[in-house]
Symmetry: C2
Subunit: 157 residues, 2 copies
DNA sequence: TCGTGATGTGTTACAATATATCATTCTAGC
DNA sequence: GCTAGAATGATATATTGTAACACATCACGA
């Protein structure tokens, strides 16, 4: 359906980055966590927890229970390695790993791919918008749905 | 837990506005739809579908099945009378009813209340951010979590 | 008047997403 | 090796959402 979202080499670089962050922070990048990271990175689009459960069961030849996967996802999200796409109940790689998520998620309704973009002005404006209402901002979620460039080019159908 | 989000009179005005929009557009504001609108409007915070199911069962003295409620919510969301809060799987009134939702949702993590604010600059910036990536924007979801002014004033606890 | 189609609601069954709880295993550091 | 904390396994269940079909109502033209 989709080409892979990141090339194999890019994925390796990205994983290295996460490994080193884990080193710095004293976090354990266990086999399971690594495996889930690579599954998400290798998918062309965000994966749901249950898609991961299936993929893991496939890969390991035995069932993996939901709590196991959700816990791992919690870890990955908390540490900014993965982002939860709220409007899809799915998880995507965070391509500025380690920062707490702070970007805009562009979600193509045709092919399902997502792209993350950062925009400092936008962040500032969101903060200002919140402050103007006396609201102390702690976490932002910006998800935009539409048609990605590639699908737009490929035309209708 | 919460005071009501809108006073009774304000709620009436708001319902009138929706009634007239339905008139203009040839939509039927049936008893069930009206009842669900009022339940959402009367709650201090967004309601989940199942909270509505319970409330309706209470009010009507007989069970109401999920599809009934979800269909009604679909109608209300499609027509811009209610907004779905993605990060909470819940539904809140849209206080510029009839426009397709386009605002920023401020969600207090302490008391659970939400407030909707519009910001034209923000919309423009989002559109620009999407365009810059060749993305054709169709729908935006901006949800900000934090502490609302009231909870901030009332202090820790 | 009688269809007939469009719309809204009821009902049953089930699918998909997520969490609570307790048991077990692993690992780092002593 | 021991032990405390972290990570994972396992079972059960809670929460959120849909598919599919039946029934009811109403407007409108034959």
């Amino acid at each position: 359906m989709n080409e892979e979202s990141v090339g194999v080499e890019a994925r390796q670089v990205w994983l290295k980055r996460i490994e080193s962050l884990c080193g710095e922070r004293g976090l354990q990048l266990t086999a399971l966590r690594r495996q889930i990271l690579m599954l998400i990175a290798g998918a062309g689009a965000p994966l749901t927890a249950y898609a991961l459960i299936d993929a893991l069961a496939q890969a390991q030849g035995r069932p993996v229970a939901p709590p196991t996967v959700y816990r791992t996802l919690d870890f990955l999200v908390e540490n900014g390695f993965v982002v939860r796409v709220e409007s899809r109940n799915a998880f995507a790689i965070c391509d500025a790993p380690g920062h707490h998520h702070h970007g805009v998620m562009l979600i193509c309704t045709k092919c399902g791919t997502t792209a993350e973009v950062d925009n400092h002005d936008l962040d500032a404006l969101l903060l200002q918008t919140a402050s103007a209402s006396g609201f102390r901002l702690e976490k932002q979620m910006v998800e935009l749905e539409g048609i990605c460039e590639r699908c737009e080019r490929l035309g209708p159908l």
